[in-house]
Subunit: 283 residues, 2 copies
């Protein structure tokens, strides 16, 4: 079984010992309720580092007031068993009080690229993400951290933060994992009703179809977005938050399909907000 | 002579080699134009670490639009000679472009305790300070950083940032150094006219007198502030920015003189804004 740590000081002490012993630390930050997507990050971390630390922390400051912090799925026993199976060394699971004690008042923020996509519909979300990720990087002292491409904007924002603030860690983005029918894996999927689970399939289906359409030399971002929106709108239980095509490096609106273009969407499926995306162009 | 480094990558490479060799790194961040105050920090760093890095960087993002960024004194040759005399190993002097390249957009911020004192009169100042200090901590990979108590609020803000964000560095505050006549040492003192230099003496004199008054059991913060303001107001070339008495731990207004109370002031002396402070109570 991995060792379960809840104290920041204890996690730091262990990390420092490992670093002083010349060991490399790979870190996988999660909000728990692990699925195959997380396990693919852990597997990659396991293959590239001496020590693997997984954090499990549902970070309250990255949730808005009316978002799903309270109903975000949690199951530490199941998570520990999965980490055990994946040969994780340490699971770091601090309390909210441990991470944000009384008097807490420091934040890390990336400004421009957080104004688009999820940043636009979830004000303060990325400030919560960059703050907690900065703290976890410092606590785990990792040389490498692994993030899933499902949260594409999150990857971009964290890479920007690491570069701008000269942090001593390498960010390793890993591919989206999907269920057999195409739905992007997410801890939130468990909160879907059976019917909504079926309706949600249109997200990945329309993205895959858009990628095929993009192979046509005459296609353009506007057309792809319109197609995806039409497909989603046909499902009555789905409400579009956004569907956008942006340049992957700048997150600015893509005017054509040259270079790497990210088509990203966020859709409310019943009560559950899901995101998915597709990268078009060379990787 | 210390080795002069201007590239972030080179400084990081050296720091990593030192850390991997098990050496301790002491770091003294400065804006250059070094004086005895800086040298006292360097001396302390020298005595406590294997390697001493001094940074010299006049950080544009901590200056307001109408502040003295352009006229802040600079003399790298003199600084290098002083660092040589103090047995500094590395002087890190990046360009503004190196620290804030095109597309830069990440910031570190401490919110509550930056609303008082200098934070109130210099909006954005401390955000610039915490951002550059975070960058420099990452670049130098230091275990200890040395700051002067003259910038008392800066010390408090940085300590808060380090604690909140779980940074792996120890902040070591060092006493204010004063000229023979009591004026707190500051790089900005060189910009004072001879007459303003004489007028500026009232700052330290009134603070020392206030500390004597505080020994009287009946004295209170209001009385001390009023006394200092009266003394300063008598000098025609002086304009008060603030004179305040705050609890040293919270930076909230002190209602009595129990515990550690910080009396801090900022005064425009001619065209030069000077700060000084005095801690009353047990250290």
């Amino acid at each position: 079984m991995p060792r379960l740590i809840s104290s920041i000081d204890e996690m730091k002490k262990i990390a420092l010992e490992m670093r002083n012993a010349g060991k490399t630390i790979g870190f996988v930050p999660t909000m728990g309720y692990l699925h195959e997507g997380h396990l693919s990050l852990i597997k990659r971390a396991r293959s590239e580092n001496d020590i693997v630390i997984v954090s499990i922390f549902v970070n309250p400051i990255q949730f808005g007031i009316n978002e799903d912090y309270d109903v975000y799925p949690r199951d530490i026993d199941r998570d520990l068993a999965l980490c055990d199976g994946a040969a994780v060394d340490y699971v770091f699971q601090p309390t909210v009080k441990e991470m944000y004690p009384t008097g807490y008042q420091s934040y890390v923020e990336v400004t421009e690229i957080t104004n688009k996509l999820c940043g636009a519909s979830r004000p303060g979300h990325f400030k919560g993400v960059t703050t907690v990720v900065s703290k976890l990087f410092n606590i785990t002292m990792a040389q490498r951290a692994y993030f899933g491409w499902k949260d594409a904007q999150q990857v971009m924002v964290i890479q920007r933060m690491v570069k701008d603030l000269n942090m001593n860690i390498e960010i390793i983005p890993c591919p989206i994992l999907r269920e057999a029918d195409g739905l992007a894996m997410s801890s939130r999927n468990v909160n879907l009703t059976a019917e909504d689970r079926r309706s949600a399939l249109v997200l990945s289906k329309s993205l895959f179809r858009a990628r095929e359409m993009a192979a046509n030399a005459n296609s353009n971002p506007k057309e792809l977005i319109a197609y995806i929106k039409d497909m989603i709108t046909m499902e009555p239980s789905l409400t579009i938050d956004y569907v956008e095509a942006v340049n992957l490096d700048t997150l600015q609106d893509a005017t054509d399909l040259k270079g790497r273009v990210l088509i990203a969407l966020a859709v409310k499926v019943g009560k559950v907000r899901l995101i998915d995306n597709m990268i078009i162009g060379e990787m």
